[in-house]
Structures are given as structure tokens and as C-alpha cells.
């Protein structure tokens, strides 16, 4: 895997996909299936969460098994703010972004001292700690989570309308992906990819590796927090299961499925996993068998994820 370069072809595909996604609510309404607008919002939110994980995992090379902690932190932040009467979506998003980022900064500062498997495990441990804390804090709803009444408006736009909310989510996802693309092509992105490739060498070249990794970790956590806040308003609930380790695992699976270190890997993985779930559920109650087999097939025959299947072989790779 070289340094990330987004090809014109891939950019064109992304723009085409964006146009298609813009038309989706209209199509769904025309087909009398408004439900799918709400479902699509959910998919896009998970796409954002998975993409943020891809930033640490694919670009930074840090296998974080605790990303759900930041996802959940954003959700709880949104729910708490809603409870406190904050009624402006941008404020909620910003707060969730910041709070999750701060949490990631703290967890990262402690976890990034370890390497390899131990890093995987310590991030997992911190996420579990966050999970049990959230469940136990009085007034945070315990196992039931914190419900949100309604969605805060965005500059006068009522997001309670599923279509408006969908467009808000789509805009945020597109903006985030654009930011990730800039990041990957900026000096910072090159440095974290260099660290992924050869940490000691980067250190020997004079880069303060720890600081770069920590910044990347915190930034990714912040974006996951944004996704969490969106999910909380989408579903009207900040649920502790958002912080559970299975959620971290699901996000990991999305990224690996889509393509590690590919800008759209997270999006692709989230869409594939959630749509496959939705389709399989309609076909058979034992849909998990199908999903499990599909994932195994990806591991054995598409090691670069689905994005890897599309990518053309480049240069002398």
C-alpha cells in the first residue's frame, strides 16, 4: 500500500454516488417507501463512523478495538445536551465532536504506549470501561440509555422531517470525507501513513511519532463522536450498546469489509453490511448465516476488502 492518492476515476465515482444519494429520498417517496429514507440516514451515519475508524486503522495503522467508545460518547453528549435544552444542531454536533475528541485524546495518550496486540486489547479495555461507566452513571438511563425528545433544528430547518435530516447527514458525511481526503494528501496524512509503514524509521527521521499518532487517534475519535450524535438524533436514543465491544467489532468489520486505508472503504463497508443485513432479514430469519459466509469469503478471497476488488493494479505493485 503506497501513500494514498485519490485517482480522478475514484473521485468521479464518488461524485456520481453523491448525486445518486441526493436523489434517493425523492425516489423513496415516489415509491411510497419513506422508511428507506430513515434507513439510508442510518447507513450514512455508520458510514461516517466506519470512515473515522478507517482514519486510525487504515491511515494511521493503529488497530483500535475501542472505537465504539467515541461513537457512544458522541451519542450521549447529544442526549445530555438535548436534555439540557440545547436546541441548535450545529452546537450539538460541535460539542459531540469535541467531547469525543477529548475522550479519544485521553484514551489515546494512555493506550499508545503499547504496541500490537496489547494496543488492541487496551483500547478494548478502555471502551469497556466507558461502557460500564455509562451504564452505571445515575441519571444516564442505565441499560436503557438516554432518550432524546425530538431533533434540534439546523439554522431554522426542522430536522424532524426524515428527508431534511437525511440531507443533513449526507452533507456532513460528504464534508467529512472531503476533509479526510484533504488530510490524506496533506503533510499530516503523509506522516501518519509513514508511521503506519515504518514507525521506527519515522522516529529516526525526527518525527515525534507519538504526537502524530495521538492527534490522528483523537481526530478520528472526534469524527466518530459526530457520527454518534447523529445516530442519537436519528434514533431518538443514546443507547449503551453503542459503546459495547460488539459495536467496535462491527465498525472494524465494516472497515475491513470495505477496504482498509481506502478513503471510501468505511462507506462501502457500512453500506454493504447494513444493506446486506436488511435484504437478508427479508429473505430468511437465519440471515446471519449468509452474512457470516459472505464475510469469510471476503477474508479468504478479497483480502484488500471490496474496495480492493475495484482498485486497478497500480504501477509495479
Amino acid at each position: 500500500m503506497g501513500l494514498y492518492v485519490s485517482s480522478t476515476r475514484r473521485r468521479a465515482l464518488a461524485v456520481a454516488a453523491l448525486v445518486g444519494l441526493c436523489a434517493l429520498p425523492w425516489l423513496a417517496q415516489a415509491a411510497g417507501q419513506g422508511f428507506y429514507v430513515s434507513f439510508a440516514s442510518r447507513v450514512l451515519i455508520f458510514a461516517l463512523a466506519a470512515s473515522s475508524l478507517n482514519l486510525v486503522l487504515g491511515f494511521g495503522g493503529m488497530v483500535s478495538f475501542g472505537h465504539a467508545a467515541f461513537f457512544g460518547a458522541g451519542a450521549y453528549c447529544a442526549a445530555l445536551l438535548a436534555g439540557a435544552g440545547v436546541a441548535a444542531a450545529p452546537l450539538v454536533w460541535l460539542a459531540a465532536f469535541g467531547a469525543a475528541g477529548l475522550l479519544a485524546l485521553l484514551i489515546g495518550a494512555l493506550s499508545l504506549r503499547t504496541r500490537g496486540v496489547y494496543f488492541i486489547m487496551i483500547t478494548l479495555a478502555f471502551a469497556q470501561m466507558a461502557y460500564y461507566l455509562v451504564v452505571s452513571l445515575p441519571g444516564w438511563g442505565g441499560d436503557d440509555g438516554l432518550p432524546l425528545s425530538g431533533r434540534a433544528p439546523l439554522f431554522g430547518i426542522d430536522l424532524k422531517d426524515d428527508t431534511a435530516f437525511y440531507y443533513a447527514v449526507l452533507a456532513l458525511l460528504a464534508a467529512s470525507l472531503f476533509a479526510f481526503d484533504r488530510l490524506a494528501h496533506a503533510r499530516f496524512g503523509r506522516v501518519i501513513q509513514g508511521i503506519r509503514e515504518n514507525e521506527t524509521r519515522m522516529e529516526a527521521l525526527g518525527y515525534p511519532v507519538f504526537a502524530y499518532k495521538l492527534s490522528c487517534f483523537a481526530l478520528a475519535g472526534a469524527f466518530a463522536g459526530l457520527a454518534g450524535a447523529l445516530l442519537a438524533s436519528q434514533s431518538g436514543l443514546a443507547s449503551p450498546s453503542l459503546l459495547h465491544w460488539m459495536q467496535s467489532g462491527t465498525l472494524l468489520v465494516m472497515v475491513i469489509l470495505g477496504g482498509v486505508g481506502s478513503l471510501y472503504g468505511g462507506v462501502l463497508g457500512a453500506v454493504l453490511l447494513l444493506v446486506a443485513e436488511e435484504v437478508l432479514v427479508e429473505i430468511t430469519p437465519h440471515w446471519q448465516i449468509g452474512l457470516g459466509l459472505a464475510l469469510l469469503a471476503v477474508v479468504l478471497w478479497a483480502p484488500q476488502g471490496v474496495a480492493g476488488l475495484f482498485a486497478r493494479r497500480r504501477g509495479d505493485d
Binding site: 484533504r182 496533506a186 503533510r187 496524512g189 509513514g194 524509521r201 522516529e203 527521521l205
Partner: protein, 259 residues
């Protein structure tokens, strides 16, 4: 960069009584060494003498247990590897340690980009690197200098061994160090490749102070201004090549078997 003026007499690198042990085994046992600015200083010694450990200790990959290391008038013994590198203390690796999956050019741009004193910080999240044309130009120029100009687009892992050794040196040079620790640059090379490397090092010697660890005695005596001999974790002699060649203790401990 803050550069406190060092008295003219003080060496660029001043290593004093450095010790390092692993478990109960001493790899370095009071090693003392001085590298003057501008010189090519060779470090020789039999296998297991502690040469690589010393390089690791100087670069910051390992922390010394005892002694002090001054570089450019500053105590650096407690500093992290990246801090020492930022001060101008660069190293190459004995076992090739490049970014195998990146292109040759990307390898070197990462090294050049590391020089924050010239380019500013790399905590830049938004501005595309593509606009930093000066960095890329410098990297290309550097590749020309080490003879890899034609291979800039190749994946580093696909280079031949000799080419990778050259890239290794280019990476270290990219940071424009004041002192370059070259750990066996000729390791594993054939005679032809070695000859080219010797030429490269000769050219380098005009621009940067070198501390050279090498087994190839012909190369050492051809390149070095001064030589230190490390035996059993301790520098037993330090001087001009002729003095070293004549030193009885060195002959007994080291050259004796070979010469």
C-alpha cells in the same frame, strides 16, 4: 533551531563513559569517544564489540544506563530519538530499514519533510502536500546525488539490495544532519556496489560529519580521518589511521588476527 555556541575546542559529538547492559551482560562498558566537526570518524571493532549498540545508544533507539552524550554542546542522553534527529543527529540502519511499500521518491520526501526547521511543522491537515514543490524538488535532487534518480517511481521494496542501501543513506541525508551515523553501509554488498558506496561516502564527507561503522578495512582506511577501536564495550584506542595501524594493543586485540 537553538544552537548554543560551543567552545571551539569542544567536539561535535562527545561520548563519555557510556554504559549499557542487557540483563547481566554489558554491551557497552564505559565507552568514550569524540567526533570533531567535519571529520570522517570510523568506528571499528570485532563482532560483538558493541558497535551497533553504541549507534543505537547515540541515536536514541536505546537509552544508556550510564555516562553522558553531548551533541553540539547539548546533553542529549535523555532525549528521545526524534528529538536527537531534529537536532541534526541522523542515522542509517545496518539492516535496511526503508519504507518498503512506498515509492522511492515518497521515502525521501518523508525524510526531507521531517526537517521542520526549513519547512515548518507537519501538523498541516488541510493544505495539499502537492503544493510543497520545493520539498519534492529537493528529494529528487537528493536521489540524483545517491544515483537513484531514475528509480524515483519504483516501490522501495522492489529495489536491489545495493539500491536499498543507497536509499537508506539518502533517507538519512534528507534530514540534512550535522552528524550522520552510518551503520555498516556496505553490509552485504558485492565489490562493485561497495566501490560505488565508497565513492558516495567520500562525496558525503565533504558536506557532513560522519561516524562510520564498517567491517571493510580497505574502505575504512581509505575514508576515515580518524579511527576509534571498540573492544568489549570500551574504546581501546582512538587516533589517525596510521596511529591505529601501529597501535600494539589494537593489533593484539583486533587487527592481529586479520592483518
Amino acid at each position: 533551531m537553538t544552537e548554543r555556541a560551543a567552545p571551539p575546542s569542544s567536539p561535535l559529538l562527545d561520548v563519555c563513559d557510556v554504559g549499557k547492559h542487557f540483563g547481566g551482560v554489558y554491551a557497552l562498558n564505559g565507552a568514550t569517544l569524540a567526533v570533531e566537526a567535519g571529520e570522517v570518524h570510523a568506528l571499528i571493532g570485532p563482532n560483538g564489540a558493541g558497535k551497533t549498540t553504541l549507534i543505537h545508544t547515540l541515536s536514541g533507539a536505546l537509552r544508556a544506563d550510564a555516562g553522558r552524550i553531548r551533541f553540539a554542546g547539548q546533553e542529549v542522553g535523555g532525549r528521545a530519538m526524534h528529538e536527537r534527529a531534529a537536532l541534526g543527529l541522523a542515522r542509517s540502519y545496518q539492516i535496511t530499514n526503508v519504507f518498503a511499500r512506498l515509492s522511492v521518491l515518497d521515502n525521501v520526501t518523508l525524510a526531507v519533510q521531517a526537517r521542520t526547521r526549513d519547512w515548518g511543522t507537519s501538523f498541516r491537515f488541510w493544505r495539499p502536500f502537492a503544493r510543497d514543490t520545493a520539498i519534492v524538488e529537493e528529494a529528487r535532487a537528493l536521489l540524483e546525488r545517491v544515483g537513484l534518480g531514475a528509480l524515483a517511481g519504483r516501490r522501495a521494496g522492489n529495489l536491489s539490495h545495493g539500491e536499498q542501501r543507497c536509499l537508506e543513506v539518502a533517507l538519512a541525508l534528507g534530514t540534512r544532519p550535522r552528524l550522520l551515523l552510518l551503520d555498516e553501509p556496505m553490509a552485504g554488498m558485492g565489490p562493485e556496489e561497495s566501490a560505488r558506496m565508497v565513492e558516495l561516502v567520500e562525496r558525503l564527507a565533504r558536506q557532513v560529519t560522519l561516524l562510520l561503522v564498517e567491517h571493510d578495512m580497505d574502505a575504512v582506511f581509505r575514508l576515515a580521518d580518524r579511527i576509534s577501536v571498540l573492544v568489549g564495550g570500551r574504546v581501546i584506542a582512538s587516533g589517525l589511521p596510521d596511529e591505529i595501524r601501529a597501535d600494539a594493543e589494537v593489533r593484539r586485540a583486533y587487527l592481529g588476527d586479520e592483518a
